[in-house]
Homo-oligomer: 281 residues x 2
């Protein structure tokens, strides 16, 4: 089986590592020659090839590039593939990507997915064989893909050790705005705020930062190249979530300011309930 991985960074590299087997030929495609070189050196891919050379031989094409690049290249990939090739994307937004191919004659060869795993690192060096194992992935708008393409996507995620959720692109983008994209905005904003306030005295950040700060700000290290287009493509739901979040921040601030300690206590106790929700996960 010939699997083409477009984008050999954290996500694509980790997929390649998880899939490697004697029966599988992993072909890497990447706009950055240094990524391909590194991926070959690290034994992540079997060979490197320009995208257009892969169309004749690809059984499965996996897109693991920033979501703006996926939007740019997905139509022409569908134009060029053979009838029995399946294309899967792995991006963190779904509506904007599905939009550009919604009337494409080969839309049914494409499966819109989002494997929910990652780290704050990027590039082939960041790839981890077990990044996806035990995690969840989402397949969106399943009915728009043909049965054999869905089956191939399901088999693929089973091989990665992931369990599969199904929903529409709209549902995906709405919920993921809150549980992932907003979380990243929050971390980036915390990083910028603390760097700004401590700019004359950065030593204090290292010295006084506790584990809570470190765990919240961890994802502010995430690739700006990857997250800028995600924020843009999910801007409606994300802006809505930032507005709702800001309103809660203001509510907490007001209670602190006006010394309304009982109400503040009740609100924080309400926030504590996330424990039960997450622990049941």
């Amino acid at each position: 089986m010939n699997i083409v991985i477009v984008g050999t960074g954290l996500i694509g590299g980790s997929i390649a590592l998880a899939l490697r087997s004697p029966k599988t030929r992993i072909i890497g495609v990447d706009a950055k020659q240094e990524n391909l070189k590194k991926a070959l050196e690290l034994g992540i891919i079997d060979e490197a090839m320009p995208l257009e050379k892969t169309y004749g031989i690809a059984d499965l094409i996996i897109l693991s590039v920033p979501v703006n690049v996926t939007r740019d290249i997905l139509p022409s990939i569908l134009d060029s593939i053979q009838d029995n090739t399946t294309v899967i994307d792995t991006g963190s937004t779904k509506v904007g990507i599905c939009e550009v191919v919604k009337s494409h004659p080969k839309r049914k060869n494409f499966v819109a997915t989002h494997p929910m795993a990652g780290t704050e690192f990027s590039g082939p060096e960041a790839a981890l064989k077990n990044l996806f194992n035990g995690k969840k992935t989402i397949i969106c708008d399943k009915q728009l893909s043909c049965d054999s393409a869905v089956k191939q996507a399901e088999d693929f995620y089973n091989k990665l050790g992931m369990s599969i959720l199904y929903m529409t692109s709209e549902e995906h983008d709405k919920h993921i705005a809150y549980v992932s994209h907003l979380t990243h905005v929050i971390a980036y904003a915390l990083s910028l705020t603390v760097q700004e306030i401590e700019k004359n005295d950065k030593k204090n950040i290292f010295e006084m930062a506790g584990s809570g700060f470190a765990s919240t700000v961890r994802i502010a290290k995430s690739s700006a190249a990857m997250w800028t287009p995600i924020f843009r493509q999910n801007s409606e739901y994300l802006i809505d979530s930032i507005d709702k979040y800001t309103a809660v921040l203001q509510q907490i601030k007001q209670l602190i300011k006006e010394d309304r300690n009982e109400e503040l206590f009740d609100l924080l106790s309400e926030a504590n309930k996330i424990k039960e929700l997450l622990d049941n996960k």
Copy 2:
């Protein structure tokens, strides 16, 4: 040596576990009888006693209660202790606590400190022997304590395996507002926002929450009883930090809204720099 630990929860219990030795008698004081019972059962303390019974025998009194309780009880503790007893608090605010004893004749017996360690759990069951080991602690306004009390505090933190920073109460509260208190506000607000938006569909939180969400929202589980008075006592610096943080959030939102992708990319790249700062820690 008789060490009295007032408050036998996460912090006090962890201190007790780290200090236990044949030469040390650990006396637990707690307003909650069930905490004392649990702490005795778990072998965290040697014996339980009402606070007033400890004054005649205490070499060292450690306060590990919520910061409002510390403010309430610290003056009367200083009224009652013997001349050679040292009192150390472990609260996350310093100005408000130092304020209530600034003119006390026994101010020099008191050392204002903040061991920077914790988890999102609370109570004696949450106590961990190595919670403090390898972490930082802060001693504030050292010159207001007598040399022997400072020495005792230093020896105490050395026994816990902590390294010591020195600063004023004002410096402490200003910096800690950003690297700890704001971080907690952010997590509480994220928890409340997501719970509110997903209230009809909480299953999606469990299913779709990634590791970034989990690590950011983790500290929203932190005890409301402990954090309400911390926010209140550090309200000025904290409100200032919330305002600055909100301004950055709005800036990010505006760039997303207006499709100013290059500026957004630059800003997120700036946020990425927290990596260098934290990795140098």
